[in-house]
Symmetry: C2
């Protein structure tokens, strides 16, 4: 049996990933990382989802990362959250330097400590344009280093790396994911998605494209149509 | 000019490394990581050495790593520090799972945030026998991933990777390093090295082999001769 540590944020992509491994019958553990992001609401969703699936869940408290890696709107309240389409230039403000290598290295260490030989993360094709550490070339290189970081190789799984978010919504729908129990808004208001930040626009767009009913409570439910036209 | 972030622990190897980059005329920053190790004495040495060389020094506070990566004598007080020669089987208790990938990923993120395009660390040939993440194959793989984790490549320097600790002592001696201002004992008593743990034995042995006067204050100054014979 595959023993898999899934990195989960409580967002849509990583929740679908968690379901996928559970449904596949893998032994699953989950890890959420508090890297000093503006809000930890999404980690509450991650904890709830793991709990309802019977998956052991740990939060790595790395809140001092924000100090170490300044300059991103995701970790500094002084940098405003950009609004609009993900692919736009201003979304670069949301990049946390080397975030994924840090998350993956923590996850690989935690996996080794708990006898898991796989780490799985939900990077997908839509991320590549702005996040260098979501590119296939990065995931391939991380998989290579994970195989030599310990005496026993760890493998890095990234089943969504060539999938669009629309395809992930379709996969989640097939697996019976309750999307209302996922949270991914950058603005971080409890119980409501803004509908205007990059991740909200991408989310709303993907449900529309997939033809799957979007149960998300948006402050600006139609903003994504305009943002799309502008991008 | 090379802009280099040096990972320094206050130990002998990384202090020599820091001197080497400063003497080479590189722009140098230094990073120490509190990963929840039993004692932080060595980080005080790191801070002092950086200060005396005029190098900006940051401590990354990752003390909750100990919880995430249990089971090592370096992070758990419940696991005793083994005594004897480094190469021995019992030294495996000192391995922190995936420690170097975590340290390097933090350092690479910090380097990117501060415009450094190189990260340098002091893994050396003597570490390979017990630490999988000190092997050249691991360092090569980390260098590869560092080149694709951001839009601008970061390179990983590891000038000591094929050197013995004896050669590092000789290099430090050539550079005028004050070895009394380095600390590497696993037992972590202020102002004194035990002389019996793996790193003390290796330290004492290396000075003896290099023919360089050892200024270290050891509790058991001759223990290393017996440990060597047993290994």
């Amino acid at each position: 049996m595959k023993k898999v540590l899934v990195i989960t944020s409580g967002g849509l992509d990583s929740t679908v990933l968690l379901y996928q491994h559970v449904v596949a019958g893998d032994y699953v553990r989950a890890l959420g990382v508090n890297y000093g992001q503006r809000h930890q609401i999404e980690l509450q969703y991650a904890a709830r989802n793991a709990h309802s699936l019977g998956v052991p869940f740990t939060i790595a408290n790395m809140s001092s990362l924000a100090e170490l890696l300044p300059g991103s709107s995701q970790t500094s309240v002084s940098v405003p959250v950009p609004e609009g389409h993900y692919a736009a230039e201003n979304m670069k403000a949301t990049v946390v330097p080397n975030r994924n290598m840090i998350l993956l290295s923590l996850a690989i260490g935690h996996a080794i400590a708990h006898g898991c030989n796989h780490v799985s993360y939900a990077a997908h094709a839509g991320d590549h344009a702005i996040y260098p550490d979501c590119r296939p070339v990065f995931a391939d290189a991380m998989d290579a280093v994970a195989q030599v970081c310990d005496w026993t190789p760890v493998r890095l799984l990234r089943p969504f790396i060539h999938m669009t978010k629309t395809q992930i919504v379709l996969e989640g729908n097939r697996l019976g994911v309750d999307f209302s129990q996922t949270y991914s808004c950058y603005a971080g208001q409890p119980g409501i998605h803004c509908g205007r930040c990059g991740t909200c626009v991408e989310r709303a767009e993907s449900f529309a494209e997939a033809g799957v009913k979007d149960p998300t409570n948006y402050e600006s439910p139609d903003f994504f149509r305009t943002a799309k036209a502008k991008a």
